[in-house]
């Protein structure tokens, strides 16, 4: 009996040692030589593997950063400037700060504004629906409401509002990775400059139909009347194909266009209710989240 036990222990130990040696040799032989800086860069990345940078994951991004001569073509939208600074310091490179961005849904065709004209009965996917037809409202450009963007978002930053049937972006969670922009078959979602104190002015419509047609389909549509472009003191607005577009690089947030728009298609968000740019915004509304109180033009990197 004892002998059996001893033999068992001996054989198993021997087997273990032999296999360990084999494993070691194999690992040694097939070791892939890699730049150690890739590991270092990967460490400072967010590690979400979202693909927002255009690479397959964080490691692929790190590799790309290490191999590239500079960081001009590589940007981690999730980590933002802070992470890129860290990457730059690891690699000893310079990096220019980028304006923080956020995903913006450019459709305001809520159930009331944009009445249904038919009922969709296929698979609940915007891509499938868009491939089939123009959608279940009179507007052939607007949101299809199946939530492909919600499914595409790795950060839980988009949700469908059941009341409006439109997606809502949680600005706190949005990392501007651009996954939703790619997922939207109607190209409604756009990455826009986050703006001073998160204040933004944008045209919440992508309808290129003629004014009357657009308005018939949706009472909140941009009808391409061009009033906004005329009133804009900064030449930030262009009207093309019956649709106005505000260049966020030129927009100075004066909101003149918002007042002028006859259909309310131009939205201004996160502006304090009392329109005094210098006044502290926080006390005005309790409901407005703390971000309004942040004084910086560059909000802190979201790490929570």
């Amino acid at each position: 009996m004892t002998q059996t036990i001893i033999w068992t222990i001996a054989i198993l130990t021997l087997l273990g040692v032999v296999l360990a040696v084999v494993l070691y040799l194999v690992a040694k032989k097939f070791k892939v030589e890699e730049d150690p800086r890739i590991d270092e860069v990967e460490k400072v990345l967010p590690g979400a593997n979202c693909g927002g940078c255009g690479h397959a994951g964080c490691r692929a991004f790190a590799q790309s950063c290490v191999e590239a001569p500079n960081l001009d073509n590589n940007f981690c939208p999730v980590g933002g400037n802070d992470v890129m600074q860290k990457v730059a310091s690891v690699l000893g490179l310079e990096v220019a700060a980028k304006e923080p961005m956020v995903a913006v849904v450019r459709c305001n065709g809520t159930c009331e504004m944009r009445p249904r004209t038919n009922e969709y009965g296929g698979y609940n996917s915007c891509r499938v629906k868009a491939a089939l037809y123009s959608g279940d409202t009179g507007c052939a450009f607007g949101c299809l409401g199946c939530g492909d963007c919600v499914a595409a978002c790795q950060f839980g930053a988009i949700s469908m509002d059941p009341a409006t049937g439109l997606p809502v972006v949680d600005e706190e969670k949005c990392t501007a990775c651009g996954a939703c922009v790619k997922a939207c078959p109607k190209s409604i979602i756009e990455l826009r400059n986050k703006g001073r104190r998160n204040m933004r002015v944008f045209v919440s419509c992508v309808n290129k139909d003629k004014g009357a047609v657009a308005r018939k389909a949706c009472s909140a549509a941009c009808i391409g009347c061009g009033k906004c472009a005329k009133v804009c003191p900064f030449d930030a607005i262009t009207v093309e194909n019956n649709l106005a577009y505000i260049d966020f690089a030129k927009c100075k947030l004066c909101k003149k266009c918002v007042a002028e728009c006859p259909t309310g298609a131009i939205h201004a968000v996160n502006f304090p209710v009392v329109n005094k740019p210098a006044a502290p915004a926080a006390p005005v509304q309790a409901a407005v989240p703390a971000k309004e109180a942040q004084p910086a033009d560059q909000p802190k990197a979201k790490e929570e």
Partner: protein, 321 residues
């Protein structure tokens, strides 16, 4: 309807649904159920009742309270498992053993894998094998209880033909009447009673296009050929093809259990490989194993091969010959 419906083609759908398919399987099992109740009486009826009720109830409770998903008992799949489990048990099984079998079948073999469509092993067989290992005395008690008809028949009591062979060698079954076995007189689990009742179910399933014949026929052919070879070489030692086809759970297993959609290969070729595997394993266990019967084990073992078989066997594609 005030608004037009728009959806991608096709705009029509066949009448078959998961529910209708499962219901057809239950209907196909009815002859076997009726025969077993007629011959085994009230106790058999109780087994069916307990088995089906507990399977359905368990699935309901698990989907509703544990998984918090839409309930799937409406698709009849739990009922199929219940009937199948009961058909796999001796007529004398106590009700609480049946209940344990149902818990293993639905709770462990089906729902832990994610419910219908996800399970790797056939739930009813998993339940039966669990019981066979855990309660061997109950599971091999082949006493025939008082039935509604047929009590005066020259029935074999106390052992199945396969068990008799295991115990007493081939001479123990020398005077078996195959015609009797075809109709109603096979000792064993409830579902093994009448070969004809099961074949009736097989025909029904084929006619209703619920199953394709490949799996069943390849199992039966393999068993026949395998045993035929051994029998031809040494008839004194090994039982013959007819005996092996008609005794034990080979018919029940090949018609109702091996053909379970979820746990069998999807292609025809895969089905044949699967069937041959089951046939060979069954015969190996019968001839050389410790158990007199091996269909359940064979099916379980081959169930685990299904993902591999599916990976290897694909259907013939147009223009890629």
């Amino acid at each position: 309807m005030d608004k037009l419906l728009v959806s991608p083609s096709p705009h029509l759908h066949a009448k078959t649904s998961t529910t209708s398919l499962m219901r057809d399987v239950v209907i196909a099992m009815l002859p076997a159920v009726v025969v077993s109740v007629l011959f085994y009486g009230w106790s058999e009826l109780l087994i069916f009742g307990v088995s089906v009720a507990s399977c359905v109830l368990l699935e309901y409770l698990i989907t509703k309270y544990l998984l918090k998903r839409p309930c799937t008992v409406g698709d009849w799949s739990a009922a199929v498992t219940g009937v199948l489990l009961a058909l796999n048990l001796p007529a004398t099984t106590p009700w609480w053993v049946v209940l344990i079998g149902a818990i293993v079948a639905i709770g462990v073999a089906k729902m832990t894998f994610g419910g219908i469509g996800q399970n790797l092993f056939n739930p009813a067989i998993a339940g039966r094998v669990f019981l066979l290992i855990s309660f061997p005395t109950y599971m091999t008690d082949w006493t025939r209880p008082q039935g509604f008809i047929g009590n005066g028949l020259d029935a074999m009591t106390g052992a199945t033909p396969l068990g008799m062979v295991k115990e007493g060698g081939i001479s123990a079954v020398a005077d078996l009447d195959y015609l009797d076995m075809l109709f109603h007189n096979i000792g064993g689990s409830a579902g093994e009673l009448s070969a004809l009742a099961i074949l009736a179910g097989f025909v029904y399933l084929l006619v209703r296009r619920v199953i394709k014949p490949y799996i069943t026929l390849s199992i039966l052919a393999t068993v026949a050929i395998f045993s035929g070879i051994f029998w031809a070489v040494n008839p004194a030692e090994y039982t013959g093809p007819l005996f092996n086809l008609l005794t034990g759970g080979i018919l029940l297993g090949s018609v109702f259990m091996a053909t379970d959609y979820v746990t069998s290969p999807m292609s025809n070729l895969g089905g044949v490989i699967f069937g041959v595997g089951i046939g060979v394993l069954t015969m190996l266990i019968r001839y050389f194993g410790a158990y007199p019967e091996g269909v359940s084990f064979a099916i379980l073992i081959m169930n685990s091969m299904v993902p591999l078989i599916n990976k290897w066997c694909h259907s013939r594609k147009y223009g890629r010959a």
